[in-house]
Structure formats: structure tokens, C-alpha cells
């Protein structure tokens, strides 16, 4: 809402604000009864009825009698968001592949695609062309116009216009990705750092739902972090915060392309895991996962991943000390780590971190959203500015 305290809000503004709030609630939490909507939004039941009727008339929601009754009296109608009423395109650009999905209102994925980035295929022009082409194929198949695009990039991105300052693992620099995509697709395009996007997804729909302070760690070739602080994403100047992977954990360690030495990324990223597992560089993701799955006994885990675990813990202790989160979610490749290893991390961090002990033990857990977390986050990013115009 644009009104300031000095100017009173006009009724249509209030109505518009309420409509967006209701739609956002349905989009994030899924089907809800009218009565629950009234309680949660703190609005009068007749206001809810008017809003829902309006949305139902334009086909954005559907109302149905709930199957299971709760409590006495006439059952409240269940309001269901209709996926096809508003669709966005989510794009997840990774170092070795691109995934793309068409996501409807309520978060349902209506179509998807992905492809490898071998050799020339990872050049910016190739990726942009392929994304545009793929978007058109998927949108044509659905027959519903796209209203926005969200893009996740493993790099440093300016939030205001989607300018990719640097994505070193892709060898991209100074690329006006947001502008180029929106010029070609004709809809608003928002671009953000991959870890920030994943943190958003975890916060809205995943493990960090309901936590006000959480950190998400992404781990592909590069390692990054997204920080939710007091319920909102922490961004730093121009949105460049998030390079947690370049925190130095061993100042005499391996040189990193960023200009420093012994960055966390060089010790816990995909290449470090490949070294620990004795796999050649550039091993496909699935093969790394298969090798990690093969580690079952505590002895094997300690032998192969001992040093890796130490560096992982050191980095986590630093992160917990700096940001003081109640929850740290490990994503991507880290979700394939042996469960006993992950289960011990929280306790080990508590032993070494004052902050963790002070907040009653920061929980450390693996993401449950699988490899789709960035697609889900990118869709939320795309929905953010357009929900009020649905």
C-alpha cells in the first residue's frame, strides 16, 4: 500500500490491499476456509465474502464444501486458488545445467524442462536464447499467458534491474540479464542470487517456515548463503550480500578464483567433495550422490569425510556466530550427505558457538525440498510484484 500516515487511505486502496493480502495467503498456504481467512487476516466475514466472491467471479479461486467438517454449525466454504489463473516462469541457472518451470498460483508446477551446459552452451547468449525458446514452448503448451519471470543465478546480482555483476563459476560478468530477458519476453523479470532465492523458498514453503531468523546454505560448485533476519531477507548494499562461501576458513589454504585463499567454498564445495571421494573433477552430480549414498558405516564416513566435516563445522560456527539464526538449512549437494553426519552437526556447532548455546542450540538440518528449491523460490520472486494485479 502506498498511503503514508499523513494521508488517509481511500476505500478502494484498502480493498486492493486486502485483496492482495488474501491472495498472498492463499498462494502460500494453499486451500483455506473462509472462516480461517477471516481469523488470520483479522477481517470481517462479510469483507472476506465480498473479496472471495470477486476473485471467484474472475476465476482466480474456486469455492468448495470441505470434505471433513470441523465444529458445529454450517460448514465454512473452502477457498482454493486456481493454478491456471496466474502463471509465472521460474528459471534456475546452475553451473552445469539450467532448469525451468511454469508455476501456477498456489505453487503448482505445470510444466518443466532442463538441459546440460556443456562447453559453449553455458555462454550467456546461448543460455538466454534457450531460456526464451523453452519458456515459449512451455507457455504455448499450457495456453496461459505468463505474467512474470523469476531467475536464480549463482553469482552477484544487482536486485533493482537484474544486472549480473559476476557469476564466476559460469564465467559470466557484467551481464544485463534482467533487461535482456524482459525485453524478449515482455513481462517483468526479477533476478536474484541463488542462495537468497532458496532461502526465500525455505522461508515460505520449506523447513524454515515460521522461523524469523534462518540461514540457507547452497552448495554446488560454488557455496553461498541466504539470510532471513527478523522475517525478511538480508540484502546488504544493492543486494550483494550472500557470498558466505568466500568466508576464509584456512588462510593458508587453496587459492580461490575470488582473489583470496582457503575460502569455505574451496573446502566444502562440490570440487572438495569430489576430492574427498576420489572422483575426477567434473563428475556428474548423480555420481557424487551415488558415492555419498554408498557411505553407510560411521567408520567409512569418518575416513572419507573427516576433514570435510571439520571444515563444514568451522564455517557453520562462523555463520551462527555472525547471524545468530535459530535454524540453518543445508541445501543442494549437502542434502546427499550421510544423515548421521548432518545429525551431529547441530550439537558440534553448539559446543563451539556461544551464540548457538545462547539461543538454545541452533538447529542444523538438510533441506527437504530437493533440487527444486531454487525453482520454487524463483517462482515466489516472480509472483511477489504481480500478485496485486492478478
Amino acid at each position: 500500500m502506498t498511503s503514508t500516515p499523513t494521508a488517509g487511505a481511500r476505500p478502494d486502496e484498502v480493498r486492493r490491499h486486502n485483496r492482495t493480502a488474501l491472495l498472498r495467503r492463499l498462494h502460500v498456504a494453499g486451500p483455506t476456509t473462509r472462516a480461517a481467512l477471516a481469523t488470520e487476516l483479522g477481517l470481517n466475514r462479510s469483507t472476506i465474502k465480498a473479496l472471495v466472491d470477486g476473485l471467484a467471479e474472475s476465476g482466480v479461486v474456486e469455492e468448495r464444501l470441505p470434505r471433513a467438517r470441523s465444529g458445529a454449525g454450517r460448514p465454512s466454504l473452502l477457498v482454493l486458488p486456481q493454478a491456471h489463473a496466474a502463471v509465472v516462469v521460474a528459471v534456475d541457472i546452475r553451473v552445469d545445467q539450467v532448469a525451468i518451470a511454469v508455476v501456477g498460483l498456489g505453487g503448482e508446477m505445470l510444466g518443466r524442462n532442463s538441459w546440460n551446459l556443456h562447453g559453449r552452451a553455458s555462454e550467456p547468449d546461448e543460455v538466454i536464447t534457450h531460456v526464451i525458446e523453452s519458456t515459449q514452448v512451455l507457455a504455448a503448451d499450457l495456453g496461459v499467458p505468463t505474467i512474470g519471470v523469476g531467475v536464480s543465478v549463482p553469482g552477484v546480482v544487482r536486485r533493482s534491474d537484474g544486472f549480473v555483476h559476476e557469476a564466476p563459476n559460469l564465467r559470466w560478468s557484467r551481464l544485463p540479464l534482467g533487461e535482456r530477458l524482459s525485453a524478449a519476453l515482455g513481462v517483468p523479470v526479477r533476478v536474484a542470487n541463488d542462495a537468497e532465492i532458496a532461502a526465500l523458498a525455505e522461508h515460505l514453503r520449506g523447513a524454515a517456515r515460521g522461523s524469523l531468523d534462518a540461514v540457507y546454505i547452497s552448495a554446488d560448485i560454488g557455496v553461498g548463503g541466504g539470510v532471513i533476519s527478523d522475517g525478511v531477507t538480508l540484502r546488504g548494499t544493492a543486494g550483494y550480500l550472500g557470498e558466505l562461501g568466500h568466508m576464509v576458513v584456512d588462510h593458508r589454504g587453496r587459492p580461490c578464483y575470488c582473489g583470496s585463499r582457503g575460502c569455505w567454498e574451496t573446502e566444502v564445495g562440490e570440487l572438495a567433495l569430489c576430492r574427498a571421494l576420489r572422483l575426477p573433477e567434473g563428475t556428474p552430480r548423480g555420481a557424487v550422490v551415488a558415492e555419498l549414498r554408498a557411505l553407510t558405516t560411521p567408520r567409512q564416513i569418518a575416513d572419507v569425510l573427516g576433514e570435510f566435516r571439520e571444515f563444514l563445522t568451522v564455517g557453520l560456527v562462523n555463520i551462527v556466530n555472525v547471524f545468530g539464526p535459530e535454524l540453518v538449512v543445508l541445501g543442494d549437494l549437502f542434502t546427499a550427505l550421510p544423515p548421521p553426519l548432518i545429525a551431529d552437526l547441530g550439537a558440534e556447532v553448539s559446543r563451539r558457538s556461544l551464540v548457538s548455546r545462547a539461543v538454545g542450540g541452533t538447529r542444523v538440518m538438510a533441506s527437504t525440498m530437493g533440487s527444486d528449491v531454487k525453482l520454487i523460490g524463483a517462482a515466489e520472486l516472480a509472483f511477489e510484484p504481480v500478485l496485486d494485479s492478478v
Binding site: G111, N116, L138, P284, R285, V288, E291
Partner: protein
Amino acid sequence: MSDPILEITGLNKSFGPVHVLHDVDLTVRAGEVTALVGDNGAGKSTLVKCIAGIHPTDSGRVAFNGGPVSINGPRDAADLGIEVVYQDLALADNLDIVQNMFLGRERGSGWLLDEASMEKAARDTLASLSVRTVKSVRTPVASLSGGQRQTVAIAKSVLWESKVVLLDEPTAALGVAQTRQVLDLVRRLAEQGLGVVLISHNMADVFEVADRIATLYLGRMVAQVPTRDVTHAQVVELITAGRSGDLGLARPESATV
């Protein structure tokens, strides 16, 4: 680095006087998509059917997870955890998704099927593959699109905890967008740590999803190379001529046929 999940060496197969596969070697690694390419009649489908135990082989060794095994029938292959998905959408139209996924292996005791547990397992499997395009697992298969049917067929292999999935042109009967969905699923299958073999005629598809390309030429395995080391043109040459530069068959003057 552990042993390949499936390794075939020196496989031969004849149909009467026709020698279809000559000393074929094939290595399938867990977590990788291996594309099996070749011209019509090169022996791709025959090779897959030999691995699946549908055709008996004349000679050859099969190692599964490092240990030698013998596959004498489809049941042996299924017991090892080898599942095949065919191009012709081999599902029962009149049954719903759950019934299809558990067809012939229903859960329950005596006359009573455990519908609730089967339905939950089917739903969990689809969720683990992030399949969000199917509304209800009780939808009859007849009403699904081609892409959704292939999705169900592939999800079946995950439900049964297969180690290796062989896909014989899974996208041949599908449109553009549906093909994309299925290939995306194929890749996610590999990312879960399964060994995947994909037969395809479409070079663009192969380059988009495969980690490794195995080329058959007139019943011989001429090359198994990582996708990032070869170009489209090289693979097309391998398919049509059996060699490309120093890849593939030896030059005719030095070869003894």
C-alpha cells in the same frame, strides 16, 4: 570411486544366421545418464532387451555392482533392480495410477489390498521426483497425457527401488513440451543416484541430458565417451560411419573384419 553399477563385456547375440550384436561392451555408472545411440538396426533395442533378460544371449559377461551375475529372464533382471521403460507407454489404460504402479506386486494380505499404503507410497514416490503435474494418484491412466503416462512408467522404477533404469525411446510418441518434461525427469532420476540408460534418436535431446554417449554401429560398440568431450558432428559421424577422427572403429586398411 566405486565399481560401475552395470558392466557388460563381450556380449554376442544372433537371431538364427543374423549376428546382431558383436562383442558389445557397455558400462553404466550410478548417477549418470548414458545415452545409447545408433542408426536403425544398429542393435540398441536388442541390447536393452538382452540386459533386461527378454532375449537370451549367446555369450558375454555381466557384472552388477562389481560382482558377476547371470540374467536368464526378466525376473532375474527385476530382482537385481533393472527396470525397463518402453516407448509405447506400456500401462494398463483401465487402471488408475496407483494400480498401475503396483500392477502384479500389490500390497495386502489374502483378499484384502492395502489401498491406503499403496496410495501413500505412490504419492510419496511422485513427490520425491517432484512430479507436481499429476492432480490425483487415483486418476485413470486413460485420461492422462502421453507425458504424464511416461512419468508414471518412470516413477514405477523409483517406487521399486531400481538401481538401473533402461529407457527405450521414452519420448518417441510425445510432443515437444511433453518430451521436455520426460527428459527433465530422466535427469532427476540420475541425480537421485540411479544408473540411467537412455535410447534416443534426437541428438539435441542426447546432448541436453546425457553425461556419457555410447554409440552402436552395425551391432558393434564403437565408442563410449563423456558428452562434454564430443560435438554433435562427431556423434553423427560415429552413428553413420562408425568412426570419427581417432574415435570409433579402426581405419579399414588396418582393421581385420
